[in-house]
Symmetry: C2
């Protein structure tokens, strides 16, 4: 093997390693999303504990990806799509790490919720919102793997649905709290869980932007249509009574 081809091959190895680490991290995060939801829906503290422990492995992968990036930049001078991979990898890793953190946070709250009452319909909405976001994460990683900018755009557009589910849930939980002040503590935790899942969706969307840039070299131009209106949601007691009658 000539010296040149040796250099080329080991540069490719480095680049492949970044992608392998990213996809490994992604698979782990997908798993965490599923387990966090399972632990929540079943109020299963043991699964929750597993999610909390596994988070460390995700943090370590982010650290490894960052190191790999710095090594490539210090030793090689990547160009074009290779450079774009090196630039987006630590950012995607940071997004995945945050999604992992949200899973951990959900798992922690299960420890409190395990002693409370089930809030039937809210649980179901949270579960379907979680499934939806899990699929976004799965698909955006697939878009990265396949260099598929259309699939990335598709994920990016789906964030609107997450926001809408979050709005519904926000109103539902606020109403629960007003109807039955004993449920306030549980509902609060479910509201933060809902917010966590909504933020996971934002991070999947942010990964989609990076995958699009990586594949095409262009930015996803338009401002994404945002539909999260919970920061301006208010429910007064009369309205709560009205909703109760529905």
């Amino acid at each position: 093997m000539s010296r040149d081809s040796h250099i080329v091959s080991s540069f490719d190895d480095d680049l492949n390693q970044i992608e392998t680490l990213l996809l490994e991290m992604g698979a782990l995060v997908e798993n965490q999303i599923e387990n966090a939801a399972r632990s929540l829906i079943r109020r299963d503290v043991e699964i929750g504990e597993k999610v909390i422990i596994t988070d460390k492995a995700i943090d370590n992968l982010e650290f490894e990806i960052d190191n790999c990036t710095v090594r490539i930049l210090a030793l090689r001078s990547p160009k074009a799509q290779d450079l774009r991979m090196v630039v987006i990898a630590p950012k995607i890793a940071a997004n995945l790490e945050r999604i992992g953190d949200y899973c951990k946070n959900i798992a922690k709250r299960v420890n409190v919720l395990v002693n409370g009452r089930q809030l039937g319909s809210a649980d179901i909405t949270i579960e379907s919102m979680n499934d939806f976001v899990q699929e976004m994460v799965h698909d955006v990683l697939d878009a990265l793997k396949r260099r598929d900018q259309d699939k990335a755009t598709d994920v990016w557009l789906r964030d609107r649905n997450v926001d809408q589910m979050h709005n519904t849930l926000f109103r539902e939980l606020l109403t629960h709290m007003m109807e039955d002040p004993r449920s306030i503590s549980d509902c609060m935790h479910l509201l933060f869980i809902a917010k966590n899942i909504e933020r996971m969706g934002d991070h999947a969307t942010s990964i989609a932007e990076k995958v699009y840039y990586f594949v095409s070299g262009k930015m996803l131009e338009d401002e994404r249509p945002k539909s999260d209106t919970t920061s301006s949601t208010t429910i007064d007691s009369d309205e709560a009574d009205e909703l109760k009658c529905d």
Copy 2:
């Protein structure tokens, strides 16, 4: 001027530009933190509106920093501390952008809170928590400017206090909600605002880690002591009654 010195000087210009953009972004974000709090405490919708509009300028600065980074990496081969600056700049920009988003979110919630009652003590705790975080952001940017790794470590350690303030506030607001269900909607927004400020502190801490790495070339090793226990906080009605008597 020789071709070589021209190249060197324009490389320095590029690097300086990244730092200038970062510090400009930081100053804008500091301002946003202050105005978001002012808008909240005074329930002043106009200042809130200004915060919401200004957020776009922060997003644009992040975009500019990212572009500048890619340009340097594509055209130069930065080494050592220069390379570290290029690597951390887009990450710090992402942290600052998120802090900016939280300010915008706080400002949006003022539109709802303006019609509610003041919740005296909670407002005061939120204000001091906000002041504390604003100082963290100010100091970590100063640490970057001065290449001061000790100051970065100092900011990093302060996150514990933010978590403790957040815990106090979380319990205080939950108690308010239980005492007076009419305050639920307002308290919910204040709880999310408190969470936003707590997250701003996390981002300031994350910037501190990057500044430390930039200056020293090493990672801040130890796991930061976390004191946010709100994900496992619960208050039952009896406890709320008890707290009411204090």
